[in-house]
Amino acid sequence: MVFACDRLKPGMSFPKATRLLSLRSLTSVHQQHLLPSVPTRLVPSRTLIQNEYRRPGKPRENVLPWQKIKFDFSKGLEGIKKHFALLMKEVTDPWVGPEGRPLIEHMLEQNRVVWEFRGPESLEEWTLSSDREIGGQSEIHLKLGRNHTTCFLYGTLCSAPPKDGETRYSGYCTVRSKQPLASFDRKKHHDWSSFNSLHLRVRGDGRGAHWQDVKIPFSKFFLTHRGRIQDDQHPLWLDKINTIGFTLGDDADGPFQLEIDFIGVCKDPAHTEEFAYEKYKRNPQV
């Protein structure tokens, strides 16, 4: 994406669909066509436990929910300690204020740094994915930059579709943050309802050697599902943000790189737009 690298684009994930940003600087006009033209079946209901990526079209494993819970004592006491510590934190946090911060701070906050890359553990929060999973040849890697102050995302994009007879378009690389987890691996959401823009400080191969501060209002995010823009649009639910992701999916094959300094959210008082797109009727008159 990149605002700096002319090609990637950020996205937020929802329980059922993905929001992608339509910035032209991020991507070419081409939309992402990641999937075969076979109509998709109903999206399965998400369980509490996060699943691995399942390639569309692959049959689902018939594993019952309770069989998926792993009582792994190999990690020993640390795992149990960690979960109970989280549970204690969850119980005691509301005594201080929402999300463990005093109410006045929560209400009057103007900026918040959500992700900054200050050590190897910050890379654990991100998941990389590319079209290797469906048989393509793109690759993507993530490492820390100089002095452990930035993260460096690099790789190669290759839009040759995999030879399986059903995939028509290919060539994407994504990096996605992991969903925040509460105790015992339950899903939690980011609550950004007091903010209205995303602020990124990035540097990539689209804009040269200089850092770029990019601000994207949340009202500009639109709803897509598996690469196709949906008809009925509605604004992003800021209190139910699961993940944020950056995807590169234009047809320019070759190496790419992106350096991210930090990702934050801010409240831009000059931006009053609620939603940039029309909330469509299902079957409008021609």
């Binding site: 002319d6 600087s25 804009r207 040269g208 050697a209 200089h210 320019a252 190496p255 934050g264």
Partner: protein
């Protein structure tokens, strides 16, 4: 003139036949005039809006006739007094307009070719129409030959049998012929569909995805247009309405394209031009001005590409060298401490649409904390308002506009250059040329860190030790030991960043 053979919701077949004859008679009576067939005499559910669009297209045609730029008009107007009238009976004149849009009547400039059926009998392939393309293209693949192939197919059969396979094959062949970004070719390809046959006439047909294969084929054409970023125009819309009707899937896809494309078209705050310059020097100039952070930066051409003949008679290709430096960078470089080395780093990639160019930068390491000198503001820089104020007002946490994050320590970039050959000799030449405007370069050691792999603009010192370093020494400088390569990482104290929103 558009002859829309509208759906008759007439009770009996005889009534329908009668209506058809009435229609033909009326058309003959019209003669040369371009007025629309009267709407009110028709029954039928769809023709109201189709007539509206048809009238829109007629107006377009009328405008074109007025301008006199549209030649095929005379081919389509039924001309009872012209010489062609005797040859073409009236009902065939009507049918001609039935199956093709008037805009795409055969262009008399392209001579027709007779393609015999016997040639293709022996060749059976899974994609039946590939042969047609190979045969008619005959080596030269261009827009004219592509349209000729479409014309041959149209002429071959009035009912356009096998048009779906033909359109799929044509879509696949478009990049070979170089017409994938040409809207008129897509419109001509959509014209291959027979008109009004696939328009649903009653509610049952509307419910049950009327002619699904053809609708999918139409969607496929639009999807290829969307992939290449081509915006359709009103002719596409009229064609889609004529072929599939208004509530069809291709029409819906067209609506989606027309909704989202204008929103995305001008979103890039730093747009790259569609057609990049062919000349590498101009391309380098465009890229350098694009990535320079300063509007005052000036591009200097240090060397143009040329071929020189050395004394031994060999031909040596000299690459182009373009450099860019802004006045503020020049000032910074003049203040640079001569004891600290400068680094020429590269090549760094820069993507412009689909081309990747490489640039090199001249930079220094970030200054040590002790060396940082805060220069007092010169009050003469601004007469209208003071640049520094001594107030003790402070902002509380609810008014803070900056993010609470450490600064990324980075050395300043003094100049950038682009060249086709990124070796030490060429870059050394760039440095010597830069010396003319920055005399401090003569006193400062310059190290070359040229790496073929993926570069990040900040390097970790630990990763550097196994990379190749080359030392460049100027003749009129002090000899510096290459100990600068393995300098220890300086500990910088974290500071608050002062970023403006």
């Amino acid at each position: 003139m558009l002859m829309l053979h509208c759906a008759f919701v007439a009770p009996t077949r005889r009534h329908r036949e009668k209506q058809k004859h009435l229609f033909l008679k009326r058309v003959q009576d019209r003669g040369r005039s371009l007025t629309a067939v009267p709407v009110r005499s028709w029954t039928g559910c769809l023709h109201g809006s189709i007539m509206r669009i048809a009238r829109c297209l007629q107006q377009l045609q009328g405008l074109r006739l007025l301008r006199g730029s549209w030649r095929p008009a005379r081919v389509l107007q039924p001309d009872p007094h012209g010489p062609s009238a005797a040859r073409i009976p009236p009902q065939h004149r009507v049918l001609k307009g039935f199956h093709s849009s008037p805009a795409f009547a055969k262009d008399p400039r392209v001579p027709g070719r007779f393609v015999s059926e016997d040639d293709k009998k022996g060749q059976k392939s899974l994609v039946p129409h590939d042969n047609l393309f190979e045969q008619i293209a005959m080596g030269s693949k261009s827009k004219a030959t592509f349209t000729k192939v479409i014309d041959v197919f149209n002429k071959r059969d009035i009912r356009r049998r096998g048009h779906v396979e033909f359109i799929y094959a044509a879509l696949k062949k478009m990049p070979e012929f170089g017409v994938e970004r040409d809207l008129s070719v897509y419109n001509k390809l959509l014209d291959v569909f027979p008109k009004e046959v696939f328009v649903p006439t009653n509610f049952i047909q509307r419910m049950f995805n009327h002619y699904p294969r053809q609708q999918e084929c139409g969607i496929e054409v639009l999807e290829q247009m969307e992939n290449y970023g081509i915006m359709p125009n009103v002719e596409t819309k009229v064609l889609l309405v004529q072929i599939f009707g208004e509530k069809s899937h291709p029409m819906r896809k067209y609506q989606r394209i027309m909704y989202w494309f204008p929103k995305f078209k001008h979103l890039n705050p730093f747009p790259v031009p569609q057609h990049l310059p062919e000349d590498p020097v101009d391309l380098a100039r465009l890229s350098l001005t694009r990535i320079a952070n300063d509007l005052d930066a000036k591009v200097t051409v240090h060397q143009l590409p040329c071929t020189e003949v050395t004394e031994t008679g060999e031909e040596v290709q000299r690459p182009y060298i373009l450099g860019i430096q802004s006045p503020s960078q020049r000032e910074l470089l003049a203040k640079h401490n001569p004891s600290r080395p400068l680094f020429v780093e590269g090549p760094f990639p820069l993507w412009l649409r689909r081309t990747c160019v490489y640039y090199y930068i001249l930079r220094a390491d970030p200054p040590l904390p002790q060396e940082k000198v805060e220069e007092p503001y010169d009050p003469e820089r601004s007469f209208y308002y003071p640049l520094q104020l001594d107030f003790s007002l402070d902002r509380d946490f609810w008014d803070e506009e900056d993010f609470d994050v450490e600064d990324v320590e980075e050395g300043p970039v003094f100049a950038m250059c682009m060249t086709s050959q990124g070796d030490q000799a060429t870059l050394g030449q760039w440095i010597s040329d830069l010396q003319l405007s920055n005399p401090v370069l003569g006193r400062v050691p310059t190290l070359f860190r040229l790496d073929p792999g993926p570069q990040h603009l900040q390097r970790g010192e630990e990763e550097e030790s196994d990379r190749s370093h080359r030392l460049h020494e100027e003749s009129d400088r002090d000899d510096r030991p290459p100990g600068e390569d393995t300098e220890a990482v300086l500990d910088e104290e974290p500071r608050r960043s002062h970023m403006k929103q």
